[in-house]
Subunit: 595 residues, 2 copies
């Protein structure tokens, strides 16, 4: 059965010992009040919500699924009450702007909270996470009037928000979308069109739902530069803030999916629905991209959270399930068999899950710290540098968290043998729920193109420079530490290989139009393995520096997992680099008829 305890010790270790977050927060005026005590309290309470409120509804929500009836969507039993408790606790506004009722917490903290919620119940978590992303777009781009009207209700969870991008004929290629927005005399717009795959487009958790909708103005130029962003509310809002008449935006149906069955994935029909422009006309994609880095990092955490609950459940099973004997002879002589955790191949599975989960959690903190610098720092050069790092690393985080998250969930299921395939045990749901995170919020193929194309090749390699500088500087800082040699050598080798491959990519991108696309997926994975090597080296360094004491097992586990990662998983980067540098020829040689 699923077992989950919020990984609070690891989270505190990352914030306090690996990344020195309290010092950093204390140094910026707008995060000066984020003290270690406050952070501890938030993590602890968040952990309780994930364990005691969200997790108990996870299996039942999967079996029950969302129900659709004549435009209304009913979420699974218990979701509504759990959401209410969550909202009343202030969690829906945790990272929100304090000027409109948000809690103003840094991203480095909210990523950890979100990870726990995804672990407990991904379907339920998606509703508030989407609202949080939408709030960011509104806060950054909407008029003061829209902000005053919508943000406080979003932060306190009274209302929710969905994002409406995809249409039946276009997902990745939003330039060809067809939803129209016609200007009205009063400054509003009438929106007409159909959007699909809208997470939380309709549900029963909140009294109102509004939508951030990409659409085209009548005179819009073709392609991505002709897209504008609109806010469309299910109920129009009266001047006093109360809800008015029903706006003609309706849910036509919900999808029956592989997983996240408690999350309503809606077809949304806009039939002349009243909407309000957010940001400048024809700049809608740019508005959406403002929030993408925040949102993609969050969605990536779905992979980490599900990987973690799968790991914790698999460890519990591996310690409990008796089957066969240790290769070194019976360990459990009074029983007919040993617990399967004695077997090296079972340990390989568990340590693979763990190395991915904890490497991902650390990387989320690292990227979160850059986002916080962009948002809270008062030093422009520092902000610019952090923004470059965010641009570079966000696609890595989203895609690598979710690809390794799926691998972790599949492995956890495998540890359970036949029971892993039976729904009742819960392990297979983690696989099904994790799978979508590789697809939505920009498929991982699109993330890889964003990294290799727009970010690396598009900047002539410039965006990658601060990353390599940071790694090299950190490695240099460790040189006096003899115990770190076993971690620094593989980290340096992988970083060298990533740099070599980056140069190869830059050399080839100009000559071969297919070079970037041919390299992209393997290049992103290579980046991910190299980045996790840095994370694990940093974790090892902090663990070596710690005074074990009562936590000796904790630190020994960190060092052991770091060694496992370097020796048993990091070698994958060699295959990826070779594949990238094989070029595009074998991909493009076949004509369509030859497939």
């Amino acid at each position: 059965m699923a077992e989950y305890r919020a990984p609070l010790q690891d989270m505190r270790f990352l914030l306090n010992e690996v990344f020195n977050a309290p010092e950093r927060w204390a140094s910026m005026p707008r995060t000066a009040e984020v003290t270690p005590d406050l952070v501890d309290a938030i993590l602890e309470e968040g952990g309780k919500i994930a364990e005691n409120l969200f997790l108990p509804l996870n299996r039942s929500g999967d079996e029950e699924e969302c129900q659709f009836n004549d435009g209304e969507v009913t979420t699974p039993s218990g979701f509504k009450d759990a959401y209410k408790t969550y909202a009343e606790g202030g969690w829906t506004g945790l990272g929100g702007n304090p000027e409109y009722g948000g809690q103003g917490m840094p991203k480095m903290l909210t990523v950890l909270v979100e990870e726990m919620m995804y672990a407990g119940n991904t379907s339920l978590t998606l509703y508030p996470v989407l609202s949080a992303g939408a709030a960011l777009a509104i806060d950054t781009h909407a008029s003061e009037e829209l902000k005053q009207t919508y943000l406080p209700k979003l932060y306190d969870g009274t209302w929710a928000c969905s994002m409406c991008l995809t249409e039946p004929h276009c997902g990745t290629d939003l330039g060809i979308l067809r939803t129209k927005a016609e200007p009205q005399a009063d400054g509003s717009y009438k929106l007409t069109g159909t959007k699909i795959f809208i997470t939380g487009g309709e549900h029963d958790l909140t009294e109102n739902i509004f939508h951030l909708v990409l659409a085209k103005l009548p005179d819009a130029p073709p392609g991505p530069k002709g897209i504008s962003l609109f806010l469309v509310s299910k109920y129009l809002v009266n001047e006093d803030g109360s809800l008015g008449e029903r706006n003609p935006v309706t849910c036509g149906s919900i999808e029956h999916k592989m997983g996240i069955k408690g999350s309503a994935t809606c077809v949304m029909n806009f039939d002349g629905a009243t909407g309000y422009l957010v940001g400048e006309p024809n700049r809608g994609l740019a508005c959406m991209f403002t929030m993408m880095n925040y949102e993609r990092l969050s969605i990536g955490l779905q992979g980490v959270g599900l990987g973690d609950i799968s790991y914790q459940s698999a460890v519990a099973y591996a310690k409990d399930r008796l089957q066969s004997r240790s290769p070194a002879g019976p360990q459990n002589k009074d029983k007919a068999a040993d617990p399967i955790i004695v077997h090296p191949d079972v340990r390989r599975m568990l340590l693979t899950q763990r190395a991915f989960n904890e490497g991902g959690r650390a990387f989320a903190c690292y990227v979160g710290a850059q986002l916080d610098t962009v948002k809270f720092s008062e030093d422009d050069a520092e902000k610019k540098r952090a923004a470059d790092l965010v641009a570079l690393l966000t696609p890595v985080a989203k895609a690598f968290f979710t690809d390794t998250g799926l691998e972790a969930c599949i492995i956890g299921q495998q540890v359970f043998g036949g029971h892993g395939y039976v729904r009742e045990w819960g392990m297979e749901q983690f696989v099904r729920d994790a799978r979508i995170a590789q697809i939505y919020e920009g498929t991982n193929g699109i993330q890889a193109l964003d990294l290799a194309g727009r970010k690396v090749a598009g900047s002539g390699g410039k965006l990658a420079e601060p990353y390599f500088e940071d790694v090299r500087a950190w490695v240099a800082s460790q040189q006096g530490n003899a115990a770190m040699g076993e971690f620094l050598a593989p980290l340096t080798a992988a970083t060298d290989k990533l740099e070599e491959t980056t140069r190869w990519l830059l050399d080839n991108a100009g000559n071969d139009p297919f070079a970037v696309g041919a390299a992209s997926c393997d290049y992103l994975h290579l980046f991910g393995y190299a980045a996790y090597a840095w994370m694990w080296a940093r974790i090892a360094s902090a663990a070596l520096a710690a005074e074990g004491g009562a936590s000796a097992d904790f630190y020994a586990g960190k060092l052991g997992t770091a060694r496992f990662y370097m020796q048993r998983l990091l070698p994958r980067h060699l295959a990826l680099a070779a594949s990238v540098m094989a070029g595009s020829e074998t991909l493009m040689a076949l004509n369509e008829a030859q497939f």
Copy 2:
């Protein structure tokens, strides 16, 4: 939507051009009648069944699932009629012993037929495949009386058979099973116990079902050497062959699973059920192992078949779905976007699927040919050598087919973007259905231990020798062929690396009790990648030798995919070899509390 055309051209190419099967069959008396015309007719008819009879029931079967009601199991609508048509066509006895009504077809042919059926409808295919495996065990080990009574009914599909091994507390570790068999005065036995995860333990497809059951005699020694095999029929069989009274073997419930929902996975209760001994007392596991090599190869094909339907569906979608422009500029100027097959990363996905599927199909033919030599050859030395190859390669086939099959299905789903996650489109079912093949019939972890431990280390490397001899001899035979250089170089490098890693394994297995288990999974994958390199080199050689003509695209596609495999997938073997040779230390260093 799912698209499937039986890959008949590829199958004929493999049999006739790559493996010279007709010549081989003509040389052995018991396969002399297996002519190319007969083979063509069987493949063509088999393809029609997969496409027109099995596939139309695949999605509906998944949604409807098997239903359990008071001991009775109802299969999804249409399954019963489809099974009847299949049985009446003689397919249930295709590989069976002609002395009892089987068709006597070689394994090299039946693997291809089974692959198509799995592609069309895995759940439905499992019923007759299980019966075919059971028939082999009966034919090899049962008394003449049991054979006369049960085999003809199994071959003509009137009855079906399940295999009952797993119990709630034991799956891998059958030595600790508890089901008891008590001898009766009339030579029969009374069986008492509970078996779980019994595929096809109860259903409505046949008038009778019998079970091959592992159980312990009262005086049995402990452990795996105290297990006997029994035949237990749902209805007792009268002397005239008609069905008699109901035997107390009943289905207690069925599992609700991630996939293969049209296949009944049963809890079977034996309450003093009458059974008959098959083979010698306490030799039941050996009897089961006789059929394992046959059965494991078949179950592996589930991965190949599902990978293929996923590939074919993804190719069709990639040619149809318009989204974005080619990196080389618009290819489809009169439309708003190009088909996504223009994108190198989409091609990477499709070619990865294809390289796995067709490499696996070729490897299944190669292993099937060895099984046929064991069964039909009249040369003892040749039989012995082939049996060694079968022992070595069967775990590779089962695990690598199914691991790469899952990867292929996940990739195919990814090509569909959001639609891949929606049940209606069918792609996610292939993922769910493929997942079980890595777990049942011995988990892939157990296959890896079988390969690295029992087969390679256990024989001091002797079992691996004929494999390396065959590869080296084949490479030598190609040396005059300059066009083959680009394929022989990576094949030789991967084979060298596999030999080096094998030596490492042999050197370490004696000193470190954990060396085999620590290496096993990565070693099996390394073996798989090296073996597929051989298959792709053989395919390339046959394609180069062919007179293109009307099939020029077919052969060009083969060469292109072979190049892709060598340059873009085979590099993975480098990472696997490095991981194996990192040894067991990082796996075993942590104590249980540190997980």
